[in-house]
């Protein structure tokens, strides 16, 4: 194992332990330890009821977003591709808000997937020019515009909601992990597991595609079909995360480069794994900082990833600029 892989694993595990051990109220390690095994006392309440489901949900949400970002960045060969910048996450968020407004009680993951796919379809339809390949940068810009439009529609719909629902919707739209239950954690993990298995069957296509489209076609890959399959995967992965925690920004953008930089992973499978681990670590740590950094004030996790992620994007842009990539 390379030292970077160890570093990433340590970061993830330390993040999870810290998120379970630290909070608004300090519970002594002895109490936590006793609570973990005996399921009794204040430690048990903290671990099994309050922090446990939240942290477990955060791990899955971060990993799903990390995978989605890694897929898109690899497909589009651009470190700026991610489901939030391309408009998929705002699309998924809009679908859930719209369902609340019109009283449609479908399960959140289904709505989020529908919204994400709709945003992707709109994006492709808008950038599709027969006979021309669309530049990645145009794709990103148009995706940004799709996201702006979806966000504007969401805030318009929220205006028309009754007061108590508007508050919930607003809180949800900023991306929050507050008050998760084991049922919710189980749902996002189950969905994530199914999607991960499907993704595993597509890793070979991804590997071939990275060799270049001509070579991949020469090796027997049906390039167009494989590409659509992978894009669809990226949308579904992001949608599963949005359904569980709202459109948390920037994790998908940061995870893959962080994972790759730490581990030096080269094969697609290794990079996906690294991105998932990095995404989970970012999400868990961001949520920890959001709820414990300021005593007595709990911020939604999305506010914290916004504060952490925006400087990253700015730094990334200046890096890309120096390399002449932009």
């Amino acid at each position: 194992m390379r030292s970077g892989t160890i570093a990433l694993s340590v970061m993830l595990i330390a993040g999870i332990v810290a998120a379970l051990a630290i909070g608004d109220v300090m519970v002594s390690p002895a109490d936590l330890w006793r609570g973990l095994w005996t399921r009794e006392g204040p430690g048990a309440l903290t671990l099994w009821v309050i922090r446990g489901p939240r942290v477990v949900t955060a791990i899955a949400v971060g990993a799903l977003l990390g995978l989605s970002g890694a897929l898109l960045q690899s497909l589009l060969r651009n470190p700026l591709a991610s489901p939030d910048l391309l408009g998929f996450n705002p699309g998924a968020g809009l679908a859930i808000i719209a369902a609340t407004s019109f009283g449609i009680a479908w399960p959140a993951p289904l709505l989020a997937a529908g919204g994400g796919i709709a945003a992707a379809v709109v994006l492709v339809a808008l950038t599709w020019r027969p006979g021309h390949s669309t530049s990645t940068l145009t794709l990103i810009l148009v995706g940004l515009g799709v996201g702006f439009t979806a966000a504007a529609l969401s805030s318009f719909l929220i205006l028309a909601l009754p007061a108590s629902q508007a508050l919930e919707a607003q809180r949800w739209l900023s991306g929050s992990l507050a008050a998760r239950s084991w049922a919710q954690a189980g749902q996002v993990w189950a969905l994530g597991a199914v999607l991960a298995v499907i993704l595993a069957t597509q890793v070979r296509s991804l590997k071939l595609m990275e060799l270049g489209e001509d070579l991949a076609a020469g090796l027997g890959l049906r390039v167009e079909r494989a590409r659509w399959g992978l894009v669809m995967m990226a949308v579904l992965l992001a949608a599963a995360a949005v359904a569980a925690a709202g459109p948390v920004p920037f994790i998908a953008l940061m995870a893959a480069p962080l994972g790759a930089a730490l581990t030096g992973a080269r094969t697609p499978a290794a990079r996906l794994l690294a991105a998932a681990a990095a995404g989970a670590a970012i999400c868990v740590l961001a949520d920890l900082v959001a709820r414990a950094a300021i005593p007595g004030v709990q911020l939604p996790v999305g506010v914290m990833t916004g504060i952490l992620g925006a400087p990253y994007l700015l730094w990334r842009l200046s890096r890309e600029m120096e390399r002449g990539g932009l």
Binding site: D24, L45, T46, V49, A166, L167, A179, S181, G296, V297
Partner: protein
Amino acid sequence: MRTPRLDAIRPTRRAILAAMGGALAGTATAAFAPRAFAAGEIRIEHAFGEAVLPGPATRVVSLGYTTHDTLLALDVVPLATRQWFGDEPFGVWPWAREKLGDAQPPVISGEVAIETVASLQPDLIVGIGSGISEAEYAILSQIAPTVMHARGAPVYGTPWDEVTRVLARATGKDAMAEELIAQTEAQFEAARERHPDWAGQTAVAAYHFAGETGAFTSNDGRGRFLAELGFRPSETIDTLGADTFYAALSPEDLSPLDVDLLVWISSFDAAPDLVALPMRRTLAAHTQGREVFAGEVTAAALSFGSILSLPYALTQLEGDIAAALDGDPATPVASAVEAGIAP
């Protein structure tokens, strides 16, 4: 820098700031009706399920924006209170301060910090009028039995006597509660007897906050207070705010506020905004001196609408209401003069 402001007194789309109002008392009473229970066990049904207490609670965390008033009235000092607005120490206002004594309960502001609640090891959590979600309730109820508003009742709409009865049951103080409720009702009745001319006149409690003007419906605690004094609510306001507890008005048309008695729920700090409100000057209620200004503490007492705050509000406002409605536009209304809104 933290000057006390009563911004929060008006309702906002953000329900966190929303007010305790009065639900239609009948429906709420039925929903809180007790069921058969095992010896010593107390069961309280509510919107999110049922709270089962093994016996009367003594360690109580109050998460409702105003429920600490009711607990203090019952001589139960809460382990923690919820911050609604203002900078009162421990979130406890003057009318309840004596009951608090030397206790220094922590104040929970913003979203409910579940870990803080758990660390206090309560045996009852009061969530009536707290705006917490079902997901939050699901976790809180694993910490201690949690009581919410009645099924079918609005989140912020439990009337003061109902809150008192439910919390009395949970803390084993039913007899004391009935006595307190009777005392408070007697105070209102005495006021009605002193002012028989108030009966049947229309009255509205209005706000102007962050650029928006509106009024509270008769389902709200502030509207209900006026009804307890014999006044008739405005049908226009009740129709406009049928789905909620307030009606926002267009700044271009404030005519629904033109009733016999207009009570502004505001703060002296914000009185200049009221003076600058152009259409207010066209109201007969204004030109004929029938406006009463509830500023700072009085406005808060009306907004809390609790068994402790309402008698306080009554004492503060009775003289002004009488001056406003004496039929002579020239009689000065002290609070309106102080705020600078008198004609």
